[in-house]
Symmetry: C2
Subunit: 568 residues, 2 copies
């Protein structure tokens, strides 16, 4: 049918000379420039990167449990045993997955890898040495450090995980599971002989989920707690209620969710749900810090308590039918808040409680005759005084109820009344770009407050492509301040606000983007090479997919040995 | 514990006077301005909006099948029966879901709604009147129009779906299922008495999925075909291979996927997979149009066929180790393409075949001595001639193999050789903003070509928030041209390129954003009110969630009666 390559070309040239040349901008958004076609994943490199790693030349096999096993020495407890069970299951699952790819169907006992250089043999057991009795709840002072030895010079042919606390054991088990990678014949998992000393750079490493703008199912929250643990996050900042809905089912005020939840039965968190979530988090060394944001962001409270909110007025002095922040002049509001906060302090075991205090809209207060009169009668013009006074009272209530509770507040509360705030308060910096946030961190820590940062980690902002490097390169200690000030920055966290996120998309939208923040908060400040990190991140995301989570691709074209829902 | 509201305020003012005022920019990205707190969904409003709807005042109940049933009159066939089974199941599922919310546990037969105004009674049966025998495959000329009558003046108390073709029956059944909404007591579904005449504005309404940058599992593709049908899309544009991987398992050239797929067993589409996908689509009235993009975007072909691609050279005339587009001077390339395209034409039953032709990189051709010599010996300097000649030959091959096949090509092929292209070719306009795309549509149709548009529907570009209105407001006929030219625009489609999309995130990222494009392509040009549409879109997304698909929220804070994975 064809006569050779010359024919179509010359045939065409004749026609072309009559043609109309069209647009010729061939370089395009979707060209392949700017990234390699595929990022190769590393093999057996943990995320976040441990503080100190020494690798030796040997390779060990880890075969399917119970041939491989954990063995506790000294202390253990339910939390440790539960974690061992989980990691057994993870290793087992990984082995099962591998079998699909195995060409050599010989029995493991035949050790098909025996001839391979540097292969030494099985790692039969990882000893788990917990040096002190377990703590029941993760807490602000928990010790997450651990030491992991695989065939080190002082421990030839053996594996040992040592930690001062059960939290370190949890972190070390996660790292151990991440050191494993498949042998080339897919017959087993292997790991390198390694000495690993690890501990977090920051003690506070949080993920914020917002269950008010959209409801998140309990199952989806648990799934994300699992992912947090696999990224060594240790705080779930639960922005549980807001303007849009009130899903927290209170014992003392059940009307709040009855009237303020999207649905009083299906879109709420019962006390049992909350207990389950706290327990699931506890077993993974994750603190659950609830936020009950006041006096703004409280519209949903008004369905049950209309008098609780400030009635807004038109410029002609008529009620306009809308409501603003909590009315700070009503004594009843403080009584109710005290009762609710007392319950909250009892329900959530953590010593931190987030009291909110952000984005208070003064316009409604300014429009309200009762508040106008109050202000005028006292010769006041700055309405931020009302916000500050309200928040100060919230803090007083909490201190009165529970002297050991630390309250966390958004930065505006500090900005509007810096000296009045108890030095114990932790200030949450969320506004501005890195320079502005840095200045705020300077101001906050200069006055002796502890600070946490989330400004650069608002993951609800999305854009096309590879956006994790910008999260990765944001450093909470990158501001002008003394080293004493920098030590007051106890960490920070990723925030996934819920305007456009619900159970349908929360997991792939959050992960592995929040992994970038996780490494910034755990690893050394000097771990900041995005090129090096990108290959580890590929492995990490595939690891999480293999574990059953729909974690999206971070870098561009790629695949995992086991893709999500791939043909088996 | 508290002494009254005055205390904290005055106490605070004293302190405040010593304080440092901080940042006070309270308006913020996450304020509530710009959108209502929640978009209320409509009740029983279809998406995309039908062409003509008349509603009468009555309300009918549709209770659980088989009390409610479909009844075919005149023609039926497997395709129709299969669709009836699917819609029975959907209606049944919806009833089951509703029961969770039902307070009144009385038997349906007690008709708890009897006292309600306008309630007339049951709709026992929807008659399905197919006027002609079934067509086996959806095709470019298929008739998708239908008429749906529920208790119209000429058919009091009855329900009737009439269509000239089985494709219209499919579309009408989807619309019927969307007219249903729950009674206020959740005891049943109801619908309004309605006369509905409907047909698509454009005959070509496609979704492009890219299975090369990332592999998509068969199950995820099927899931998205279901969603396409529920949005009345009728073309799955399958961008099956590209630079990054070659997952198509060819019978004549199995080496292409053996060496060019991400994984030769797990990341491929077997002939059986493809047959399953085509059959699944056929049952939903969706054409499957494969794209084998050449001569660029073919790097993955080179793993099996290194000589097939152009070797790129350094400026010093040494091979640089990389490969460019197909080498158009090698006769073997045309032979292989002819064999492959012959297979592809046999495997995919649709009369359209997409031949690609976009983004050919001339730099490699320019660097290659063999091609340089060829060009110089013929006094040629414009390398686009090589691209055009190659594509022209691809079109000749297809015409030789299958005279009735219509080829679709990306716009560059037209731009670079307008007059040489067979008038039958469909030109796919994908570049530029709306103005530029409009000019291209003008040029393409002025020369008598049919055109399809995707420039404004590249859904792989993401941004924070409510982005569907911009897709919604892009109109394929919004360009300067005669009405004859505008009739040559046969439609267009949404494109979700796969650089950052795989099975983990494809569904929530595509839907309901592609629903905006779906309505633009189906409904009247005058249906362009985003405010009106936003409420229907809320209902539509909740409908899809209720049917079991993780479709993300489109408008901001919201909830569905049945959220994804909500507590039951």
């Amino acid at each position: 049918m064809r006569t050779g390559v010359d024919f179509p070309i010359f045939y065409f040239i004749v026609l072309l000379c009559m043609g109309t040349p069209g647009s010729s901008h061939l370089k395009k958004e979707l060209s392949l420039e700017g990234y390699p076609s595929t990022y190769l994943p590393t093999r057996g490199e943990p995320w976040p990167k441990p503080q100190h790693v020494t690798k030796y030349g040997q390779l060990f096999m880890v075969v399917r449990p119970p041939v491989f096993r954990f063995e506790t020495v000294r202390n253990t407890c339910d939390l440790v045993e539960d974690a061992l069970k989980r990691y057994y299951a993870l290793i087992n699952r990984r082995h099962s997955t591998l079998q699909r790819f195995r060409n050599d169907k010989k029995n493991d006992a035949e050790k098909p890898w025996k001839g391979t250089p540097n292969y030494v043999g099985y790692l039969d057991v990882l000893k788990i040495d917990l040096m002190t009795p377990c703590e029941a709840y993760p807490n602000e002072n928990m010790d997450e450090s651990y030491e992991l030895k695989i065939d080190t010079p002082d421990l030839v042919g053996q594996g040992l995980l040592v930690a001062s606390s059960n939290w370190g054991i949890l972190r070390g088990l996660e790292t151990f599971s991440q050191l494993l990678y498949p042998t080339s014949d897919y017959a087993a998992l292997q790991l390198n002989s390694t000495l690993l000393l690890d501990y977090p750079r920051f003690s506070y490493r949080s993920v914020l989920l917002d269950t008010s703008r959209h409801y998140l199912s309990k199952q989806v929250i648990l799934e994300n707690l699992d992912l947090m643990a696999m990224n060594k996050y240790n705080v779930f900042h639960w922005h549980i209620v807001d303007d849009q809905s009130f899903p927290y089912q209170s014992r003392v005020f059940p009307e709040l969710s009855e009237k303020g939840a999207y649905h009083q039965y299906t879109h709420i968190y019962t006390q049992e749900d909350i207990a389950d979530i706290i327990e699931f988090a506890r077993r993974r060394g994750i603190r659950v810090i609830p936020e009950f944001d006041t006096p703004g962001h409280t519209r949903s409270w008004g369905y049950a308590w209309p008098d609780f909110l400030t009635e807004c007025f038109t410029s002609r002095g008529q009620p306009d039918g809308t409501f603003g922040p909590i009315n700070p002049l009503r004594e009843d509001a403080y009584k109710k808040m005290a009762q609710l906060l007392e319950e909250v302090i009892n329900v959530f075991p953590d010593s931190y409680l987030h009291l909110g205090g952000d984005e208070v809209d003064f316009d409604c207060w300014k429009s309200n005759p009762e508040i106008q009169n109050y202000m005028q009668s006292r010769n006041l013009t700055d309405y931020s005084i009302l916000e500050s006074a309200f928040m100060l009272e919230m803090m007083n209530i909490v201190k009165g109820l529970s002297p050991n509770t630390t309250y966390v507040i958004w930065q505006e509360v500090f900005d509007h009344g810096a000296r009045a705030i108890n030095k114990d308060a932790v200030i949450s910096v969320w506004m501005g770009n890195q320079t502005e946030a840095g200045k705020e961190l300077d101001r906050v820590t200069a006055l002796g407050h502890r600070a946490i940062l989330s400004s650069c980690w608002y993951l609800d902002y999305i854009s096309t492509g590879r956006d994790w490097p910008k999260y990765y390169l944001c450093d909470p200690q990158n501001f002008n301040g003394t080293s004493a000030q920098k030590r007051l920055v106890i960490g920070g966290g990723a925030a996934l606000w819920g305007e456009y996120v619900d159970s349908t998309n929360v997991t792939p939208r959050l992960w592995p983007r929040a992994s970038a923040t996780a490494e910034r908060l755990w690893s050394s400040q000097t771990v900041n090479n995005t090129e090096e990190a990108s290959h580890r991140l590929e492995e990490h995301r595939c690891r999480l997919v293999q574990r059953g989570f729909n974690v999206q691709p971070p870098n561009g074209p790629s695949h995992c040995l086991v893709d999500w829902n791939t043909r088996n």
